[in-house]
C-alpha cells in the first residue's frame, strides 16, 4: 500500500506525439466506464449528502452542530486524530529511520508487521486494543496503578487513532530515507557538522515533506475511524463519544437531517485540513528543496 502514489507520483515519461498515442484502442469505452462507475458509486451519492444538507440551510446545520454534544464529539474526533497523527509523525519517522539505516534481528518480520493496521479489520483491532489496555489487560494492568486509564477514556481514542495511522507515516518516509544521498551527510560531516547538526539540518529537511504527507494521511484516516475506536472509547456522551458514532446514533433515531449535518461538518473540516496540510507540504518542498 502506497499512500503517496497520487500525491507525488509524477513518473517521468518519454514524450510521445499524440498521433502515435491514438493507435491504442479503447479510449471511449474505458474512460466512459470509469466516469460512469465513479459517478454512480462515489460522486452522485456524495453529492447527495451536500444536497441534503443544503436543504437544511446554513442556520439549520449550525443549529445541529452547535449543540454541546455534537461539538464535544467533533472536538474529540479531530483532537484525538491530531494527537494520534503527531505521535505517528514522531515515532513513524523514528521507525522508518531505524528500518532503513540499521540492521537488527527480526527486521524483516517487523517490517511486514508495520502494515498490520492496513490488513487487520478495524473491529478486530478495536476489541484487541481494548483487551490489551483495559484495567486487567497485559498493558493496562501496568498503567492502572500509575493512575493512567486508557480503555473507556479519550486516551483510548488516541491509542486507536495511533494504531490506525502508523503505517501511513512509516511507508511514506521509508522510501524517501532510502533515496536520500548519504554523500550529503558525508559532506556535512566533512565540513565540520556534528551528527546532530547533520540530522537536523540535512536529513530532516529532506524527509520533512514526506513526514507531512504521512501526517496528513494518518490524520485523514484517524478522523473518520470508527471500528477500532468505538470498542476502546467507552462512548460516554460529551466525554468519549466520537463524531462518526454520533452519526450512527442519529441515523438509528431516524434523524437523517442531524446525521447529514454532522457528516457535512466532518467532510468539510477534513477537506479543509487536508488543504492546509497540502499547502504546508508544498511550502516545505519549496523551502528546503528536498525531494518529495
Amino acid at each position: 500500500m502506497s499512500p503517496t502514489v497520487f500525491a507525488q507520483g509524477h513518473t517521468p515519461r518519454i514524450a510521445r506525439t499524440s498521433a502515435r498515442r491514438s493507435v491504442i484502442p479503447g479510449f471511449g469505452l474505458t474512460l466512459g466506464y470509469t466516469l460512469l462507475y465513479l459517478s454512480l458509486i462515489v460522486l452522485i451519492p456524495l453529492a447527495g449528502v451536500f444536497y441534503k444538507s443544503a436543504g437544511l440551510g446554513l442556520e439549520g446545520i449550525w443549529a445541529i452542530i452547535s449543540t454541546p454534544r455534537v461539538l464535544a464529539a467533533l472536538k474529540l474526533s479531530f483532537g484525538a486524530a491530531l494527537i494520534g497523527a503527531t505521535i505517528n509523525a514522531v515515532f513513524g519517522t523514528l521507525i522508518a529511520w531505524v528500518f532503513v539505516r540499521y540492521t537488527f534481528p527480526g527486521k524483516r518480520f517487523f517490517d511486514a508487521i508495520i502494515d498490520l493496521p492496513f490488513a487487520l479489520p478495524t473491529a478486530v483491532a478495536g476489541i484487541a486494543l481494548t483487551a490489551l489496555y483495559a484495567g486487567n489487560g497485559w498493558i493496562g494492568q501496568y498503567l492502572e496503578p500509575l493512575g493512567i486509564k486508557v480503555a473507556y477514556t479519550p486516551l483510548g481514542v488516541i491509542v486507536a487513532c495511533t494504531f490506525i495511522g502508523l503505517p501511513f507515516v512509516v511507508r511514506t518516509v521509508q522510501p524517501v530515507l532510502q533515496d536520500a544521498e548519504q554523500e550529503l551527510e558525508e559532506a556535512a560531516a566533512s565540513l565540520g557538522a556534528n551528527r546532530w547538526q547533520t540530522i537536523t539540518r540535512v536529513i530532516l529537511p529532506t524527509v520533512l515533506p514526506a513526514v507531512l504527507t504521512g501526517y496528513a494521511l494518518a490524520f485523514a484516516r484517524a478522523v473518520g475511524e470508527y471500528g477500532s475506536v468505538i470498542f476502546i472509547a467507552g462512548n460516554l456522551p460529551m466525554v468519549s463519544e466520537i463524531a462518526p458514532l454520533l452519526i450512527i446514533i442519529k441515523l438509528e433515531e431516524f434523524d437523517y437531517a442531524g446525521a447529514t449535518a454532522v457528516a457535512t461538518a466532518m467532510l468539510i473540516l477534513s477537506f479543509f485540513l487536508l488543504l492546509v496540510i497540502n499547502a504546508l507540504q508544498a511550502w516545505a518542498r519549496r523551502r528546503h528543496g528536498g525531494k518529495p
Partner: protein, 307 residues
Amino acid sequence: MNTVSDGLPQSPPPSPPGIQHHPAPLIERNSAITEPAWVRWSLILVALLFLLGFLLLPLVTVFVEALRNGWSAYLAALTEPDALAAIRLTLLTAAIAVTANLIFGLAAAWAIAKFEFRGKSLLITLIDLPFSVSPVVAGLIYILIFGAHGWAGPWLMDHGIKVAFAVPGIVLATIFVTFPFIARELIPLMQEQGTEYEQAALSLGASGWQTFWHVTLPNIRWGLLYGVLLCNARAMGEFGAVSVISGHIRGQTNTMPLHVEILYNEYQFSAAFAVASLLALLALLTLGVKAWLEWRHADQLAATRRH
C-alpha cells in the same frame, strides 16, 4: 561550526570560510554518518517497543483470547449457524466488491495511463476521494438514497427491491470504501510501462482485446494481484460503512466484523475473539503474500513503493 548551509540539500555548497576541520581518527570518521552504538540500539529498542505495544501485542491478544476457553469452545463458536452465515456473507460481499473494483481499476488505469486528456489529474484525485471519507459517512450516503425515507428507497421497495438493510447495500458500501485500491495500484504501474508494447502488438495485427490479454495483462499481473490482495483485505474487514447500512439482522445481513461486534456486546468475549481470529488470520495471510510480492516482484509493483 554553525554555518552548515541551509542550501546543502540542493547543491554542494562552496566551502564556507568559518568551518574548522577536525582531523579525526579513522574510527570516528567512519562514524561520521552513523550514530554511536548505544544511540543505535536505544533507537532500535524504542522502535521495537512501540511496534510491540501497538501492533504485535494486539495481534497476539486476539489468538490468546480466542483460545481462552479451549479448542472445543473455539470451534463451536466458528461453526454455529450465525457465524457460518456471517462467513458466507463476508466471502460473497468481498467477491462481488473485488470483482467490481477490479474491472473498474483496469478500465480507469487503461484510460489514464494510455491516453492524454484534459482533467486527468482531477479524475485521479476523484478516484482517491473515498479514502478521505469516513466509512460511516460512506454508509450514510447510501442510507440517504436507499433508506426507507431516502430518495430512491420507497420506490425500489414498492418494486420489491431492498437495498438498505439488505445484501445489495452491504455490497455497495463495501465497493465504496475499497473503490481506489486496485486503480491506484495499476495507474502508476501502467503509466510507467508506457505504450510501446501495445503499439508493437497492434502494429503486428493483434486486436485490442488480444493486446490487452496477451501483452498488457501479463505485464501488470503482480501489481494487479497486489491491488486485489489489499482490496480484499479491506472488503472482508470493513466495519463502519457496513455497520451503518446492514441493519444487523443475524444470519442474514451480518458480516464477520459485525458478528464480532454483536458477540462482543453480548459479553461472549471468547466467541467474539474466535471469529476475530479468523479475520486476523486473513490479515496475516495478506501480510505474508504482500511481503512475498514486495520481495519477489518489486519491479512490477507501483513505482513509488519500490525501495
